[in-house]
Each structure stands twice: as structure tokens, then as C-alpha cells.
Symmetry: C3
Amino acid sequence: MSHSLSWNRKDLIDVEHLSREEIETIFSAATAFKQAMEADDKKQPYLNGRTVVNLFLEPSTRTRLAFEVAASRLSADTITVTGAASSLTKGETLRDTAQNMAALKADMIIMRHSASGAPHYLSKVVDIPVINAGDGSHAHPTQALLDAFTLLEKFGALDGKEITILGDILFSRVARSNIICLQKLGAKVTIAGPSTLVPKAFESMGATVCHDLQKALKNADAVMLLRIQHERQTSTHFPSLGEYTSMFGLNKERAQWLKPDAIIMHPGPINRGVEIDSELADSNRSVILEQVTNGIVVRMAILHLCYCHHKGIEIELPS
Amino acid sequence: MSHSLSWNRKDLIDVEHLSREEIETIFSAATAFKQAMEADDKKQPYLNGRTVVNLFLEPSTRTRLAFEVAASRLSADTITVTGAASSLTKGETLRDTAQNMAALKADMIIMRHSASGAPHYLSKVVDIPVINAGDGSHAHPTQALLDAFTLLEKFGALDGKEITILGDILFSRVARSNIICLQKLGAKVTIAGPSTLVPKAFESMGATVCHDLQKALKNADAVMLLRIQHERQTSTHFPSLGEYTSMFGLNKERAQWLKPDAIIMHPGPINRGVEIDSELADSNRSVILEQVTNGIVVRMAILHLCYCHHKGIEIELPS
Amino acid sequence: MSHSLSWNRKDLIDVEHLSREEIETIFSAATAFKQAMEADDKKQPYLNGRTVVNLFLEPSTRTRLAFEVAASRLSADTITVTGAASSLTKGETLRDTAQNMAALKADMIIMRHSASGAPHYLSKVVDIPVINAGDGSHAHPTQALLDAFTLLEKFGALDGKEITILGDILFSRVARSNIICLQKLGAKVTIAGPSTLVPKAFESMGATVCHDLQKALKNADAVMLLRIQHERQTSTHFPSLGEYTSMFGLNKERAQWLKPDAIIMHPGPINRGVEIDSELADSNRSVILEQVTNGIVVRMAILHLCYCHHKGIEIELPS
């Protein structure tokens, strides 16, 4: 199937530059990988003998695992480098680190970095594919794509659907990438939460800003919760956890404001009892675990497409 | 060979629930893997394309390496998550962590945890196999099974054999699992050491409690030493290392109390000069390194059997 | 090709004991691996099903990654153990650690250790191949071999070539191994830098000691820079970084003292602006990234040759 897919990028740095057609190409490939996975045919040969470097210069377990699994399901050898203080990078510039990875004849670099723009810079320095696994407060394109893929599985199409993103929007790369991605697919996005965390300035991105939770929920087809970062509590514009939960935490009572078939999403890890009530996280409204599963196949699709383009080979998919 | 093995468990949580027949099934499979290994045919195809997660939420190097090697010798892809403070588990419940692993479409979880009962809980939450790699002071079934396998290699059968376990029994999951496992196989178990570390209460498990070292050694067919935990020395019921060694350390003089063909075991890592004299550890009475080797094949057997049952496929073994 | 290679060592501990013919054998194998790599045939089957243990008991990212990549390009399963404080080694002697690795039926151990002589000791204790990945201030043979391989690619032969090693020679295992290796291949070696870091005693190794930078550079066919260790600055015989740079840092002005076709080498990671000017590091005089690439193929060659000898099998190479 899908042998006619076309893809013309070596890197995935942001959703901003992707056309709707490109996003749909990723989803076509992801669908093929998912169908194979469901037929218990998880491991595909497309990166056999290839070396994928996971360069995680900002702590991450969940996203790193998902990429490691995705790469190994494509039969790649994976090499993981973690920690800003690794001796690889100590005293070296980012460019040196990147060029060293290329000199090892790595075939692809997956990068997480605390500095916005680092993966973009990397993609200019090396000629192998670079995949952004989250950079500063800039972008987290694979998260946004797996979220949209999950929504599409539920709704068929997103045109005209209303999606509410709720929580700490201000510094969230997940929110930024989702706002962009969802709108490209035709959805209407509302961002909600306390005014200190959900500034009016985001309206320039096309989203509706709403500080009234009931209003933000009542027309939503899906509500996407963001993780509340405990470590940000010392910040002056951040309410206490208890205060946040009492005003914006999603509990069963407030979930009744949602439409009956509205779904609940969360990129994980969830803080049960903080941004979401524990029972609600486990209810059949929740698609949180489907997001995790889709995170594997969407990332497999991205690695595969970028690699095929880079090598100039035809895109094959599991049949 | 052994195509007629039958196994009906998806998990291995404890030796307590295993029948003698089940233990012997594990050993039949382990024997097949060991024979293949000795014929330099180490790598087997049975978990090819499968993902095994090593979830080590309590520090461990030795057991983790043994499981990583066992899984990779079965051709699995292994993913290792270490550290109680991993961002995977931060703020997440154990159940969330487990469900996330299942959502990644992992095929099996190997878990070490500082809390007794954690792997049991996990096995109820996910429908993939869960293998206990040591939980709190509860159980360490794979260690007990590899120890018994090693004893059987030496003695053919354990019925009526006398095994002395010597050292810090009180908090030892290794001791608990061994007491149970050895008795199931027909052996008589004596536990020995200072009374503060070897309480009378263990008699309820069927073991003989003995605080006289000479008496504990003289009829033993094997003496199983436990590692003395340096870090426990601050505890009030723990003697100083020097005091322990002078009273219960196994040295050459005391080893003469043993029967001429009695063997010495230790789960490692050994404290030379503390619980065992250095020369004795390297003597031909010692089977310490055989325990390490057997740790690989017994774990391969367990992973293989649980996986086959889980998938409903016939148990094949190397021929 | 090269089916007629002969190699009679199970271990690579030092360059000191290698004959020129043995060094050339390594390079023949490395050339075959490099040609295959350039033909995009990176992964070779020679260690398929084998377990290679990376025992890095002194911190390292760069060398460890290179060995991990080399082993996985030979299709080995790799197991990495890092950290002097790993529970594997805690309380255990080095010998216990080694014997445990052998008991896991590892096929090869790659070892970095802060103590000079540790890999040599290991090679006597276990009967599987041991590769020295750097021990104390003693030796770093794979670095010296990849450096010489890089020089040979540029110059065809090293007989009569003049190589200057510049920097902190005193405690450098890279310098020691390079002095020995380069002379075996017919080169003349000058060591240069401040007198506190480049003692006269090195003349007993056959090198010329020179504290005048211009003199050290003007006849050099290649200058090999060593990394200045920031952490050594507290030492009384170490100048400040600024002082070092002002007197011995290689900048564009000083590079004009070099012959027009002289090349610049560095084992990495480089301190831009300290031992080398940033532009110079990126100039076409620099072969720094070629050293990284060659580090893979030279290490593949060493692993392959030692393994073939150990198993008594014929040395096959990619054709």
C-alpha cells in the first residue's frame, strides 16, 4: 500500500513549515505501521544496519524511550547520549557535537535540547536527517503530530472540530506545536487556564484565549490537558498546585460540562489529582494510552520518510 | 528436544506458587539453552522483533545485566529504564508507568522495585508478562531458581540434601526465595548467622534456625553465603563487619567443618575477606561463577516460557 | 580481499608490543571496513550473536560511543557498564568483575580504567579478548592507531615524516601511545609545549623535546594537538588557560609557520580558542573529523582480528 507517498524533507524541525498534505503523508505512513503493529508485525526492516543517534541534551525519559522503540522497531541500531554535561559536549560547541555524530557515520540524529532553535541549527550543519524531539519552549512537533493522529482516529477529520488546550500554555512547546498543527488540519483551537499562564498574545497564533473553564469546555470535541510542572511553582506568575487544581483541574463534575462524546487527552506523565482527576484519566473518555501507542507509529513514520528522502529511495510500507 | 514442555503462567512473581513440576520445566528449558550455549550457539531467535523492558526502579547492575544479556540472547530488543527518580515515574503512579509500557507495545516487563509486591501489582494491571527481578525484602525468584539449577547440576537431585544459608537472612529476599524453592525440591534448609540477623520466626517457613556455625556447616551439602550489606552497619541489630567476619565469616579453617564434597555458593558481588575468605571463593569448592552462567540460561528459560504461554505458541527449544 | 591476513593476538593492550607488520595488518582490515562503509555497506556480520561488554570504569563518552558503534557495526550485542561506583564493582575486585563478565559468556571486553595496567591484568585473568580503551596515563592504543591510520591516508607512508605532538604531554596516554606507534611506522616525533608539561625525560622514548613552538612547527608534516584539561588547572605545574593559549595555542598566525601541506590533528573534544583557534579547527588543514570516522573502522578491525584469533577462525573481510 501507499507506495505512491511523496515526501521531500530530510528533517522534521517544526510543524509550522509542514503543509496539510505533508502531515497527511506522515499519517498515511503511521497508519500502515499501526496496522502492521496490530497484526503483531511490529518490527520493520527499513533502517536495518543504520545508526540512529538519540542526542538528548535535556532530561527526558518518555520521549527518549518512544524514539528508541520507534528506531529499533525499524531495525536501526540506536546510540543514546544523554545529559547536558556529557563529556561529548563539554567544551565542545553544538556544531562540534553534531559533526562528530556525522563523522561516526550516523544516519540520523534525534535531538532534544533546552535551547529553542538547536535542532534547526543542527540540521544546517550536518547533511543527515535531524528530528526535533523538543527544543526549549519552541516546538515539539512529534508530540503535536501524534496528538493530531489520535484525534483523527476518533473523528475521521478535524475540519470544524473544537479543541481546547488547558493548562500552562505560556512556556509549553507542546501547546505551541499543537495550536499550529490542529489549525492546519482545520480545527478551531481554544487555549484555557489562568490568565498568568494563558496570555492574550497567543491570539496572534489564531487560537481563542479563554479564562472561563466552563466556557472553554462546553463546545470542545476534545480537551487536551498539559502537565503542570511542579518545578515551576516558585515562579511568581504561577499559582500554587492546590489553587490551580481548585480552579482549573479537570474533575468529574467539570467533565459534565463537556459534550457527551468529547475526549480527554494528556501528553503524560499525568499528575493525578492535580490537572486531572484520577478516575477521569482512566475513564473511557480518556485516550491517553492511545496517544502513547500512536507516539510509536507516528515517530516510525517520520524517521522512515526522512530517511527515504535523504537516501533518495522509494518509500515502502508494510503491506 | 523438549517440545512437550507445558507452562501455564504469563508471569514469574514468586517461587511460592510454583509447583515442583513447574520448576523442573524451567530447568528443562534452561538445560537446553545451556547446551546450546556450550556448543557456542548462544543466540536464539525466540524473541526476535520483541521489545523487553527492564524496569529497574531500585539500583542494580548485576541482575540488570543478566536480564539484558538473557533478553538479547533471545534476540529481543531491550529497553532499560533505571532509577526511582526517572521522569517516567515522577508523579506517575506505578500503574501509569506499567500501562505506558504496555501502550508502547512492549512484550514483557522485567521489574525490580524496592517495594515488596510491586511486580505482583504490575502483573494485574498489564496483560503482558511480568518477571520479578527482586522486590523489597519479598522475593527474588530468578536468583533462587538459578541457585537451585546450579545445585541440581552438582547433585542430580536435591531430595534429602542439606543446604545451609548463612548471613543476613532477616531482610534478604534471596534467602526467602531460596528457602521456599529448595524445600519444594526436597532439600532440608538450615539458616545460620547471628541471632539478630537470623530470627527464630523463620522456622515457620520450614527452615532450621542455627546460631552455631560449626553445627550449621557440618552436615551441609552446600553452603550458600549471602552478601553482607555494608550500608546496613548503622542498624542497631547489625554487628560490625569485623565482628561478623570473626564469628561467621567462612574461612579455610571453618571450611574444614564442611563435608569434603560440600560446595560453596554466593549470589555476588562477594566481599572478599568479609563473609568469605578470598582463597575459598576461588577454590574448587566454589560454584560462584557457575551461578553467574546459569543466571543467563535460567532467565532465558523463564522469559521464553512466559512469552510462549502469553502468545499461545508452542514451546520450541534449541535442538 | 585480504583473506591472507594473519593475526596472533587475543588482546590489544598497548602499541608497544605490536610489530610494524601487525600494525599494518590492522590497517589493511580497517581499509576494507572503510571501503565498505563508503559504499554504504556499514554493517558487517562478523560478530553476529556475540556479546561485547564495554566496561568503562572511568568516565568517557566519545571513546565509548566509538566502540559501541564499532561493535554494533559488526552485528554484536553490546552491554555497557559505566562508573567506578557501579554496584557490579562495589566491593568486588577487578578480577571478580572480569570473571563475572566471562561467566556471562561475553565474547570480548573493552575496558577503560583510571589505573594504568588494569586492562593488562584483565587479559591475564580471562581467556576472552580484552581491548584497552585507555588506562590511566599508560596507553590509549586505539587512539594512536586511528591517528596513524589517518596520517597514512594522507601521506601514503610515514617513513621520515615529522610529527609534532603539542600540549599536555606529561600525563597523556594519547601522547605516549602516539610516540611509540609513529616511530614504529618510521616517523620522527617531536613533543612540544611548556617545559612543565613536556619534560626532558620523554627523550628516552626517542622523541625530540622542544619548548620553542616555531621550531616545533616549522618542519612538521603534521601537528597533533592534545586537549588541555581544564580540570588540571589547579595543579602547580600547569599554566593558566590564558597563559597556555598565548604561548602555545595554535592560531592562524602560528599556523603559517607550518609547511603549506602540513595537517592538523586533535583527538577531541576540542577546546576552541584554547589549544586551537576555531577557524583553524574547521580549515581544510584539519583532519579532525576524519580521525573520528577512522576511529570506527580501526576499532572494527581490532575487534574483528582479536575475535578471529581467539576463536581460531579465518579472517574474512568485506569484499
